[in-house]
Amino acid sequence: MKVKVKLFGAPREALGRREIEQTLPEGSTAGALLDLLVEAHPALRPYSSLIKLAVNRKYVPAQTRLHEGDEVALIPPVGGG
């Protein structure tokens, strides 16, 4: 299946990309996707332990299963205001 990954802030800058189309095995979890991305893009590694995950605009735990076409966001520590 394919999902759309959105990047923001420091990890976006480190990777030089705002979006990644990622193919991964059916039934994969959001956490597995993050592991796979870190493997494929070592520039993400320094941020991986701080990243929260959102699927279709909601924060989710890492064990959440993904579905075809999901929009997954890697959320580094936020700092609005």
């Binding site: 802030g9 700092g79 609005g80 205001g81």
Partner: protein
């Protein structure tokens, strides 16, 4: 420039002012309005800031702002309306980054509710800020 926005929860690259956000609350039952205004500070931890670069996940951030308003109305029953507008892009020292406006029939609960709104925004809204100094830059959280 088109019509002024009437959205109650908005991420925008346009300038933000308290008047303009308060206007979005307009309601004849209003007896008290409070506005929190976040402003870009020129010095942090002794370093001179040149400017701030804000970025957001706008669709999710607007939903998070609406969620904060829902939480407020559960905790403080007298709060009528809430509007939260956050600016993104490059902001210069002294410019307004965020306006939170709340209205109620009476003043009692607006202060605590405004405090809660800005604390929660900093905690959950997917918005990021990069401080750019004369000699470097850093993404800041919290």
């Amino acid at each position: 420039m088109g019509e002024p926005s009437k959205k109650l929860f908005e991420i925008t690259s346009e300038e933000v002012s308290a008047d303009q956000v308060i206007a979005r609350l307009a309601d004849s039952g209003m007896g008290a309005v409070i506005a929190f205004i976040g402003v870009v500070r020129g010095v942090t931890a002794g370093r001179k800031v040149r400017y701030l670069q804000y970025e957001a996940y706008p669709e999710m951030a607007e939903e998070a702002l609406e969620q904060i308003a829902d939480e407020i109305r559960v905790r403080w029953k007298t709060i009528e309306k809430v509007a939260i507008v956050h600016r993104v892009g490059r902001l210069e020292i002294g410019e307004t980054s965020v306006v939170i406006a709340l209205s109620a029939g009476h003043r009692e609960e607006v202060f605590d509710a405004a405090r809660y709104a800005i604390d929660r925004l900093k905690e959950i809204a997917p918005i990021w800020k990069k401080e750019v100094w004369t000699d470097g830059a850093e993404w800041k959280s919290g």
